[in-house]
Amino acid sequence: MTAGKVVSWLKKPGERIERGEVIAIIETDKANVDVESFVAGVLEKILVEPGDERLPVGTPLALISAEGAGEAAVAPVAAAPVTAGATATAPAIAPTPALAVPPAPAPMAAPAAAPPGPGERLRISPVARKRAQELGVDARSLAGSGPDGRITLQDVERAALARPAVAAPALAAPAAAPAVPAAAPADSAAARQSRMREAIASSMARSKREIPHYYLAATIDFSNSSAWLAQYNTGRAVTERLIYAVLLIKAVALALREVPELNGFWIDGRARQSADIHTGVAISLRGGGLVAPALHHADQRRLDDLMRGFQDLVRRARAWSLKSSEMTDPTVTITSLGERGVESVFGIITPPQLALVGFGTPVERPWVVDGQVVARTLLSATLSGDHRATDGHRGALFLSALDRLLQHPEEL
């Protein structure tokens, strides 16, 4: 993050502010983030109104008179850079950058106005803070499991689940589910679904608003891969087998090595390729919603290793126990809707990624090979690309590489 725009103020001049309290919302490249005050005091003056242009990190946003320091001690509040390592995650698609308190931009004297050191400040992502408030969890009592001990959404939700039922917050059960027992976890499936829906809505709406998609489709002869897979699985114990999605993941990762322009992010007005290939794999959740966590370094892993990793991701995704890095690291997304007979999927890119690859169902169809009509297993592969970053020609090269790779599954 290098710049941001004030979306709204949650406090008015003259209002009292506690340290750590969220006072404004800022729109960044990745998401809206909460701005926390790093001092207690009174909001004296708002310097930047909502809707003004994007301002560089470090711009003072407001003046706060610090507690016990008199009128003279006024601390500016400013947005700070967010490093990749400081990101936390929402339970769904959108990576949610955490807002760090900036190095003190020289407030006007008064020790009380100085921002506390890293050891004093509560390290917690905005989404986790909000959730803690909703669930009535005292975030200060938690040990963070995120980078640098940051408290994550999962930490908060785990803490809420671990509490005795009697201490559960008054989270209203949805009207449609009056039978929820009193001892049910505070974070009900319905609440999680609702949050996930919001995150998907936000991410997908942003994608369609900001990313000029182009779409390409190719029909790939999947017969060789299909036959190779059947042979591979024959005679293997059930724990050692592969599913065809793993071949697709590996082939996509290898094709991205050949067309790296599709692998990475659109940040600050330009495409940034990623040296690593972390394929986000779309996993649908029971009851609705989906997540697309990363299978890290998919291009470098053996198929059996990818299979174990994929199984583990699916299991944990459905148990709501993904790691934050898995949610923020994907450099591309792969989605397959083939399980339910869909022939093609033209997906929406997950911002700020540059591309999404979709697969339909492998189907047996008449196909012409060497001038003869023969029955072959065909697979529709599609690419949704960000036209700001690449053109259709690059996308075509990618699909062509994918086709070629899938003709030689033994080399994947």
């Binding site: 005679g235 293997r236 059930v238 087998r241 599913i243 649908s284 199984q311 699916v314 299991r315």
Partner: protein, 86 residues
């Protein structure tokens, strides 16, 4: 192990894969994929769980024979009989 015992354990195993499963609403002759919205990963995990529960490793070529609860019970009963006779 009689068929009813096998059936009970199959349903229990399945509910490990599909937590929201309501055993009472399962149609024993109908396709599990269609009834329960399970995908190939779920199905493979189901086969792995059956292997753990019954000690029967279903070969890839037989996987299609376990499409419904009835079919699972029949297949496992036969596999267990064969194992007992061996």
């Amino acid at each position: 192990m009689n068929q009813e015992e096998i059936r009970t354990r199959v349903v229990k195993t399945l509910s490990g894969i599909v937590p929201e499963l309501e055993p009472g609403s399962l149609k024993p002759g109908q396709s599990l994929r269609d009834q329960l919205d399970i995908d190939s990963m779920d199905f493979l995990n189901f086969l792995i769980a059956l292997h753990q529960e019954f000690g029967v490793d279903v070969p890839e070529s037989d996987a299609g024979k376990l499409g419904s609860i009835d079919a699972c019970v029949e297949y496992l009963a036969q596999a267990l009989r064969q194992r007992a006779q061996a």
